[in-house]
């Protein structure tokens, strides 16, 4: 298995949509073959269409707000005393997270194909919130599928979705989290694909959804590359990019522009959700050696039992609480371009406390996982090493959990 240079990773799949011959593909019911093929034709045409890219960039610039900040965390760097710690503050984007890029692109595609309704799944509620924002902006009706457990634990985002006029449909099947929300959303699409567009909230699902999402979030690394050159005059000689990995949309977007650099120069570190330290359950299929299986239309490393039933996950972070992971990350793991590890619930909470103590930055629980590992590793790295953490979400949505775990006073003071 080999990563090719000079070709975008999203376009390195084979004829049937498999990366490295075995990750991804289109394991979908016959009914979805046609709408998926239509979307593929549309996307393949538009991703090279200058007027479409201009339109995308106009919305990215004027509505989402680009570029998001790239800042040095001076106090944290001093406190840790190793590598320089920086952050790409993607939570600056309109709506407060990276999910806005994919949502915007899907709405643009839906508009162009004449669809009136767009549906989507959500875990932490960001994908849903952003899709509801974009749908409102572009005049589309919007339905969001969300696990009943997630609805309870991510109320601020649920309120935002409703305010934007979206129907939030609670999913009560299975573990009542993201995995069930994606299934229910796909089922709805099976029954309504003639009138409705579907947005998959991460770089997961049938191949074309993986590609569209990766293409959209790559805005993050396009910006970062320019910012690095402005700051350092070049892409630094020792650069490490830390990002949490649930489905894998923010990390893929954070890394994409640097794919062709030698990994000794630009290293990618993906941090999965290890779950509570006392629990055997986790959401870290890459770290803990899960087997390849089929989930939501794609072959990937996924938590499952020996029969092939998908296993329940556990994580404090709803956005990372997914048993599978993007085929793109499976490909980056097996080609050894990226390194994957996990942080526990407790480690993420601790990292959140450290970051908020020293910096005027409030990463949500998802990037707090990445901060945990970055802080640990930065200690041992030289001062000329540039560590960058993608702070891809804001903790406002987590205030309920943070209050419960860390106390009211702590949350208020931040």
């Amino acid at each position: 298995m080999k990563l090719k240079k000079g070709i975008p990773v999203i376009d390195q799949g084979d004829r049937l949509g498999f990366w490295g011959g075995k990750f991804g593909g289109n394991f979908v019911p016959e009914t979805l073959k046609k709408p998926i093929e239509d979307l593929e034709i549309q996307f393949n045409r538009l991703k090279n269409d200058k007027s479409f890219i201009k339109e995308r960039d106009r919305h990215f610039n004027n509505w989402i707000g680009t570029p998001t900040r790239f800042i040095k965390l001076n106090n944290l760097t001093r406190h840790i005393g190793g590598a320089q710690i920086w952050s790409k503050v993607v939570s600056d984007a309109n709506g407060g997270a990276h999910k806005i890029y994919n949502a915007t692109v899907h709405c643009l595609l839906a508009k162009r194909s004449g669809k009136k309704v767009i549906i989507g799944d959500t875990g932490a509620g960001y994908a849903g919130k952003m899709l509801s924002m974009a749908a409102k902006k572009f005049g589309l009706k919007c339905k969001i599928f969300m696990g009943a457990k997630d609805i309870k634990r991510q109320q601020p985002n649920v309120k935002a979705m409703k305010k934007n006029g979206a129907d939030v449909i609670p999913v009560y099947s299975g573990s009542q989290t993201l995995v069930d929300a994606v299934s229910e959303c796909m089922r709805f699409w099976v029954a309504n694909c003639d009138t409705t567009a579907m947005c998959v909230g991460s770089t997961v699902g049938p191949a074309v959804f993986v590609r569209i999402c990766g293409w959209s979030t790559s805005q993050i690394s396009r910006e970062l590359k320019v910012q690095l050159i402005n700051e350092f005059g070049e892409v630094p000689k020792k650069l490490k990019l830390y990002n949490c990995v649930g489905g894998g949309s923010s990390s893929f977007g954070f890394w994409n522009e640097f794919m062709d650099y030698n990994k000794k120069q630009v290293e990618f570190i993906g941090i999965e959700a290890g779950g509570p330290s006392q629990s055997k359950k986790h959401a870290a299929p890459l770290t803990y050696g899960s087997k390849i299986g089929i989930l939501h239309g794609a072959a990937q490393y996924v938590n499952q039992n020996s029969d092939g039933q998908i296993e329940e996950t556990e994580s404090i972070s709803a956005g990372l609480d997914y048993p599978g992971v993007s085929p793109l990350h499976c490909f980056l793991k097996d080609t050894q371009r990226a390194r994957y590890t996990a942080a526990s619930d407790e480690e993420a909470l601790k990292a959140y406390q450290i970051v908020t103590k020293y910096e005027n930055l409030r990463p949500s629980l998802e990037p707090s996982h990445a901060f945990s590992v970055a802080i640990k590793e930065a200690k041992k790295l030289s001062k000329d090493t540039i560590v960058i953490v993608n702070s891809c979400g804001d903790a406002y949505k987590d205030r309920g959990i943070l209050e419960k775990k860390l106390g009211k006073k702590y949350v208020k003071s931040n």
Binding site: L16, F27, V28, P29, E30, K33, K34, G293, Q304, D307
Partner: protein
């Protein structure tokens, strides 16, 4: 020699009616009871689809999901399902059995092992919901080699070009999904339109038996008397749930229902 699935269609045709195919989930509500249900409905049904329960089913509606989750909760494993089939096949009035499920279950078992066990236990055909054409080309060839029918699915969204390729690569039986829906949806398309699509398929591939599924219930089944076969699934699963909730015996209730279905198309 005709294979058992073709034979079942032929027998139904002799009686001038479509073949009746039922769908129940293996292990619903228990291993023992699902076997009893299979035996009981064999008096009326021609071919039995046995659902292999999966916990992330992307094409199943509420009723079948409920049955599948119930079976999984009660501990059903792939090997138990093979055992249920081989036990069933020992009964004197046994009918052809078609497994219906999702590809991950086959993938984890190993394609070759899976087919070996199918053969051993007496499974006659396979419907793999999320392994469409052309992704299924290699696996369907393997099935053929093992004398197991790989049943291709067609839907209202299938283009004419695909229709031709898929029917060309299909074995003895084709499954037409009546409408854009998960299983258990209400029939939202007129029977006339469904039959027009059915006839289009028969025109392209007249020799193969084509069954219609999705939205087929006691209420709608008599609209489709002039077809090769009809599948009833969700209504049966719903009846199992209803029986359990009312503390009645699902075996008796389901078998009554299948009897009624048969009468409506006879």
């Amino acid at each position: 020699m005709l294979n058992p699935i073709n034979l079942a269609f032929k027998n139904a045709k002799k009686e001038n009616r479509p073949a009746l195919l039922t769908y129940t989930v293996a292990g619903d509500s228990s291993k023992k009871q699902s076997l009893e249900i299979l035996k009981a409905i064999s008096n009326y049904a021609d071919i039995l689809e046995v659902g292999v329960p999966h916990n992330t089913p992307v094409a199943d509606g509420g009723q079948i999901q409920t049955s599948a989750y119930r079976a999984i909760k009660n501990g059903i494993k792939m090997n138990d399902i093979f055992k249920i089939v081989s036990e069933y096949k020992k009964s004197k009035n046994s009918k052809p059995v078609i497994f219906m499920g999702y590809y991950n279950m086959i993938f984890q078992y190993g394609e070759n092992n899976f087919l070996k066990e199918c053969k051993k236990s007496g499974v006659n055909g396979l419907i793999v919901v999320d392994l469409p054409w052309p992704e299924n080309k290699i696996f369907s060839k393997k099935c053929k080699k093992n004398s197991i029918n790989f049943i291709q699915l067609l839907s209202p969204t299938t283009s004419n070009k695909r229709l031709k390729s898929i029917t060309r690569d299909s074995h003895d039986m084709i499954y037409y999904i009546s409408m854009l829906s998960t299983t258990g949806g209400k029939l939202k398309v007129s029977p006339k339109k469904i039959l027009a699509n059915y006839n289009k398929i028969k025109k392209v591939s007249s020799k193969k038996n084509c069954v219609i599924g999705f939205g087929i219930t006691e209420k709608t089944i008599s609209n489709f008397k002039k077809t090769d076969g009809l599948v009833v699934g969700s209504q049966i699963c719903k009846e199992i749930t209803r029986s359990l909730n009312n503390r009645q015996n699902p075996v008796i209730n389901v078998s009554k229902m299948v009897n009624k279905l048969k009468k409506k198309i006879s």
